[in-house]
Each structure stands twice: as structure tokens, then as C-alpha cells.
Symmetry: C2
Subunit: 435 residues, 2 copies
């Protein structure tokens, strides 16, 4: 079951898919050389938007939380990719300590944690789960709705090493995006921390990610001979924002205006009849908090108190002081009249599956990954690695291949981003990846 | 559909499977360190024999010819593994020249060639097929029964590089086991040849492979705490054999006797009621030619003319001058009362699938991979990478995991074997892998 595009204007996307299919050997070769030069994130998920005329990543998650939503048929792919990732990052490791988010009641999320544990166990690792929740002072079993169970254990720190009772891990795998900052217990560890702590939202900026993505999209577009705009949303960022005190409003309004104009020009060039819109969101943080859809600069000047409050904080109550203004990409995929947004999952640089967030009560220009938002996950039932060059560019295997390609570009951008922001490595990486 | 074991005596195998499941993290860790130190064959297939009391590899093929028999559901695994293999061996390669066996009418084999081409194309390579058949002087299309087609093209050599008309390959992938020797056109090439020509049967000896396997099986057995005999068939080898002139008969008969006695002791130790038997086969070459089943040393002294003729030559009419005498391992797997023998397929060190050779008219102590032998392939419908530690050690996912482990041991032995026999590298490898 594959969602279909509900827009009449699919010419540019068909053209994009055709170009990508034709350039496949060049794309794979180029990606191969890129992965050789980079440290690929251990795992990642990429939210895509497909408007029929444009296919672009809008968010790259380095602590993916939906492994439970993947098609179980593709678990062997996950296991094989995890084997490769472990071989590259820590071949000597036998025992992983997995540190998840501080959720104890979100069964969807906890099934994701169990899913990660399962994949790593099948790759031959011993994996136990340590929690940062201070109230958990002894091993705590949680029964999951799928019949499995999970044990959260309190973490001990001795010197610069973490352990659990009777368990000395070789490496720490984070599935916690550090929105509340890097807790002291994770600072200056001897054990490798995967992903590194600077991949957490305490340091990470969406604007840094999309700056790296600009570079990747431009390079890629030269190879495939396309307009990079087809895969890349415009963006700008404003620092020193305070929604409560109405500071930085001008910066925001001006950029909103500028982006809407630039998008408008592109829409005209491609004969797109829709209204341009932008998404204003916190430059750091996740979970769809601190996010709004804007079609006119006046909207950001006349925010009411409720809107200001909503924009002022993200997850863990962190204040929003910087925002990214990103071109909105319409979601024109739907299934049974519900909006469907693809999320692609990767382990190392391998696409291992994905799913659609399917939502019946939201609009095509809204964000589906919002708090309290109950999407229905629809696992990809087609792999992203078997394009069919004899079929229509828009057939399921080819559409999914294209999703996998664009998602890999976003993960490549994340690799570059993490190099650039690595406290140990900032200068060297700027040379190797000019913007 | 999984074949079942038809022997009452499955205690030792259950025990083996149990040990392997329990030691899984240690096994995977140990294998990971082994692959780090070795150059893994690009691809391989391993013939296993499962007697219920013993599970052992009896042949490791470095030019696997049955990719067409794999479960298509696992193609994404093949593609992902091929990506990894290419990244390791020749990341810069974009174009592969695939050189198959000189068959033009064996549609099963040609579908295998098309299968390899497809997998590599999906991994992002441009692959064309060059043939060593002198009669093919222009591109020749062959229609395959599955609707696909294949183009065989004549190979040109200019200086030390191979090419096809309008195609300059970066690397040469052999699916030709070089039974007739290394043709001049393949000697001293600038382009990487994968696998290296010394992996061909012109230089390869089964006895060298199984000497390396002795080492691997012993090391592995220490980790899993099992008797290495459970996964390792005894063997000996005789050089200077001439069946026509009845030379070397004593060596052969003595070893047959010795092996039968040693096997008999093991059978006694494990309470096995079957008759011990050995397989005498050419130390070089393949395709089940030059092979016989022996239960008594007298049998090799009283060969009739027909038997002598049969033992004297292997594929491509190569004379047999050396033989390996290998402990026979009963095949006690069957499906619908037909004998079923598993073959496990690997790309790089990843198990990507396998199939059973199912044969209705042969005995449990005979070789199913013989010329003119029409087995029915039954693809594994279970992956080898998702063992279920909560299930019976003998359940399908666990049995297939065990198959995958033993097959990987054989491929590891092949890696060591190729290091030892590498003309450039013989000394160094002997140090790193003592027998």
C-alpha cells in the first residue's frame, strides 16, 4: 500500500525521479566516496516532504525514535547494517549501554528502544539499558504492548566510566537527544559515546545542519543535473529572538518576507499555483514544539500571547532564543484521504526502512510531528534499495529509491555538520567541506 | 518450508546449536575481530552437511554459481552487502567487468550471472559481461527463461588492461573458477581482479582450504566450548596420484583406513550407529567430478576401469594428480522424503541467503553436486541473521543462524587460505595464522 500524490503538478518530481534513476551509478559512486571521507552517524532518520514538484528533507534526527514502526521484513537489513556500523566505529566492543529518553509511559517510544536493543543483539552485542531518570534506583522491568519487556537500570559513574550493576559497557549508545543539555554524568567519558554528545540538541543547530545540506545538495545537483531547489528548502536563521519580549521580530519578519518572495519566484518558474509558506521553528530542539506555519510576514508581527508562549519553549522547557525560517514544502502524499509523510531510517549510511506518518485531521502545510499528535505509522512495504530502471520513474520501487537517495543526502549533511561542530575537529572539517 | 532431520540421533546437534546460541555475542565479536584482520572473499558459497550429530562444511566455492536460487526477498541484503564489499575492495570503482564460466546453454548458470549483475547494478555499479569463449566475437544476447536477458561480449586486452567495446572497467569480477588454468588474457592485469586469480582451481587446493579450516574450527571451538569434530570433517591428502597407472594407491588406501578408524572412534564416543565413510575427491577442481564414496580401504584398491576413468579427470578435462580424503558427513535432512543439502551464500562476510539442493533419487551418503545432477533448489525462506534465543535451539531461525555461523567459519578459512597462497603474501600470513 503506497500513498499517492494528490497534486496535479507532478512534472518536476517525475523529472527529478527520472534524473536520479538515470544517474544512479554516478550517485552511488559519489556517495561511496563521500562515506569514505566522513564519519557517518551511527543511525539517523530523515523526515521528507513530497509535494509532487519538490522532494526535500525537513528534519534529520540523530537519535531516531521509531524503529518500532519499521517493516519487520527488513530487520535483517538493520542487523547487517548495524554489524557494519559496529565494525567501523568500535569493532572491539561487545557490550553496549543504551541510554534512552526519560520516558516510562510512552509505550511507542519504549518499543523503539526495545527495537534498537533487539537489532544490536542480533548483530552480536550484549545490550543493556541505563536510564537517566533519577527516580529509578534499581532495575525496573516494563512490559511492552507487543509482549516483549524492557529493563531500565540506574547508571553508575566511577571515575570517567559508566556502568550498570555487573555490567561494564565498551561503548555508550545514546537514544536521548540531550534537549535539556549534556548531563554531568555523560561529560568527559572514557568510553566512546555514540553519537557524540555534540550531536545532542544542547549544541546542535538546525541552521548548521541545513548549511551543510546546502553544500551537499549543490554537489549532488551537479552530478544529477537538476535545480538544487527541487531537493532543498530555502532557509534563513535569526539569533537573539525572544518571543515573550518581542525581540528579534524584525529579523524574523524580514526573512519571512524574503523567503516567501524567493519561493514565489520558484513557484512561478515551475508554474506552481499554491501559496508559498514558511515554517518558523526553534533552531535547537525537536518534537515539533516551538513551530509555526506562516504565509505572510505580518503574521509573525501580530502574535497573540498563546502563540508567543507556544513558540517560546521546546522540549524539556528549554527557551527558544534562535529560530530557523525554512521554506515550507507541501505534503501532497495521501492515503485514504489522510496526509502521509515519509520518514526514512538509516543505520550507518544504509537505508534500512522507513514509514509514513499518516494523519487524518491535519492540513497539507502543517507539521505532523507535534506533541500529542497521534499519527498512524505505515511501514514502507518496499525496500529503498531495488530501483527498477525498466519501470516508470514514479513506480513504488523507484519512488522509494529516490526517498532513500534524498535521505542519504541529509545524513551526509549530518556527517559534515558533526565534523564542523566537533569541538576537537572544527577547523579541519571546514577546509574539507566548504559551504 | 524447512527440511527436517530424519535421524533419531540429534542430541549432539541440538547441543551444538545450544552452545552456538548461548555464545552468540562471543561468536559475533570473535568473527568481527577476524574480519578486521583479513581480506574477506568478495563472495562465496559453502556446502554444508547436516547429519543431526554433526554439521560441517564440505566445500567452499569462491565463484558461487547459484545466486538465481536465493530467495528474492533477501535481495536487499545482497545489495547492501555488495555495497560494503565494493567500499572495502575498490571504493573508486564504477564499472565492473564480470567474467563468467564459458557456458552459453546452461540457463540455470546464466540466470546466476544475471543475478550477480543485477545485485551489483543495484549497488550502483555499471556491470557488463565479458566472455572468454573464443567463438563469441561480437556482443551476443541470450534470452533467459525468467524473461531477462544477458549480453556476452568479447574481451579485448590492450597492454595490461581489459576492456569491452566502449567500456573501460575499473575492476574485473571473476565468476569463472579457472579450472583450465589462468588464461593468458587474465595474467598480470593492472585492474584489480576479484577474487584474485590464485583463488581459481588452477592453484587452489581443497587440502589447503581445510588446513585453514582446521585452524578456524579449533579457535572457534575454544570459544563455544565444543568438540571441534562436531563442525569439522577429518581429512588427509595424497599427492602423486595416478588412477590410470594405479600410482599412489597405497597412500590412498592407508589414509582411507586411518580416517575410517578415527571416524569410527568418534562414532563410538557419541553412540552413532551409522557406518563411517569417506569421500575421495580431486584436491583441485569442482563440479563433483572425480569423486567417490568409500566405506572400506579395499574399495580404492580394486577400482575397475570405469571408476578409474571417472576419478582421473575433473572439469575441463584436467587430470587428477592429488586427492583429498575427507570424512563423509551423512545428510540427514530431508523434505518430502528427498535428501536436502544446504548451501549458504555470502557476500563479503555477510550471509545473504541460501538454498537447499533437494534430490529425490540419491542416497544420504552421496554427493548431490554432480554433473547431470538435477537438484531442485529450495530457497531458504528464513534469514540466517535473526536467531531467537527464546525458542528451541533447533527452531528454524536458530538452525539457520547456526548454518550461517558454520558457513562464515568456512569463508574465514578461505580468507586465511587465500592469504597463505597469495604469491605476494605467503610468509606474512603464515605468521598470523599458525596451523
Amino acid at each position: 500500500m503506497v500513498p499517492h500524490l494528490t497534486t496535479a503538478l507532478t512534472g518536476p518530481l517525475l523529472d527529478l525521479e527520472k534524473h536520479i534513476l538515470e544517474a544512479m551509478p554516478n550517485i552511488e559512486h559519489w556517495l561511496r566516496t563521500q562515506w569514505q571521507d566522513r564519519t557517518t552517524p551511527f543511525y539517523s532518520s530523515v523526515d521528507l516532504r513530497n509535494s509532487g514538484f519538490k522532494l526535500a528533507p525537513v528534519d534529520t534526527n540523530l537519535f531516531p525514535g521509531g524503529f518500532n514502526n519499521l517493516n519487520p521484513d527488513f530487520l535483517p537489513l538493520c542487523v547487517q547494517a548495524a554489524m557494519t556500523a559496529v565494525e567501523k566505529i568500535c569493532p572491539d566492543a561487545q557490550r553496549f549501554l543504551l541510554i534512552p529518553e526519560n520516558h516510562t509511559r510512552n509505550m511507542f517510544y519504549l518499543q523503539n528502544v526495545a527495537g534498537i536493543q533487539y537489532i544490536l543483539q542480533q548483530a552480536g552485542l550484549t545490550v543493556r539499558i541505563g536510564t537517566l531518570i533519577p527516580e529509578i534506583t534499581s532495575p525496573t522491568d516494563i512490559e511492552l504492548p507487543d509482549g516483549r519487556s524492557l529493563t531500565l537500570e540506574p547508571i553508575k559513574r566511577v571515575g570517567n566510566r559508566l556502568s550498570l550493576d555487573g555490567f561494564e559497557p565498551c561503548a555508550i549508545l545514546l537514544n536521548n537527544d540531550l534537549s535539556a543539555g549534556v548531563p554531568d554524568i555523560l561529560k568527559n567519558l572514557e568510553q566512546p559515546v555514540i553519537p557524540p554528545v555534540h550531536a545532542g540538541w544542547a549544541t546542535r543547530h538546525k541552521s548548521t545542519h541545513f548549511a551543510a545540506y546546502n553544500y551537499v545538495a549543490d554537489e549532488f545537483s551537479k552530478i544529477v543535473k537538476i535545480d538544487p531547489w527541487l531537493i532543498n528548502p530555502y532557509f534563513e536563521s535569526c539569533g537573539k529572538i525572544n518571543f515573550q519580549e518581542r525581540k528579534g521580530e524584525d529579523c524574523l519578519a524580514n526573512y519571512v518576507d524574503e523567503l516567501l518572495q524567493n519561493i514565489g519566484k520558484k513557484y512561478q518558474e515551475y508554474g506552481i499555483k499554491e501559496d508559498p509558506f514558511v515554517i518558523v521553528k526553534a533552531d535547537q530542539g525537536t518534537y515539533g514544539m516551538g513551530i509555526m506555519t506562516v504565509k505572510n510576514a505580518d503574521e509573525v508581527r501580530s502574535l497573540n500571547r498563546k502563540q508567543r508562549n507556544k513558540m517560546s519553549v521546546v522540549k524539556e522547557g528549554q527557551p527558544v532564543t534562535e529560530v530557523i525560517i525554512q521554506e515550507g514544502v507541501y505534503t501532497f502524499e495521501s492515503i485514504n484521504e489522510a496526509i502521509a509523510e515519509p520518514v526514512v531510517y538509516m543505520i550507518d549510511h544504509f537505508v534500512v526502512g522507513g514509514f509514513y506518518r499518516v494523519h487524518t485531521s491535519r492540513g497539507k502545510d502543517e507539521n505532523l510531528n507535534a506533541p500529542g499528535m497521534h499519527f498512524v505509522p505505515l511501514a514502507f512495504d518496499t525496500t529503498c534499495s531495488l530501483p527498477d530502471r525498466s519501470a516508470n520513474p514514479d513506480s513504488a520501487p523507484n519512488r522509494f529509491y529516490t526517498y532513500g537517495v534524498v535521505a542519504r543526502l541529509a545524513t551526509l549533511a549530518a556527517a559534515i555538520e558533526l565534523e564542523r561542530t566537533d569541538p576537537l575537529n572544527a577547523e579541519a572539517s571546514e577546509e574539507s567541506a566548504p559551504e
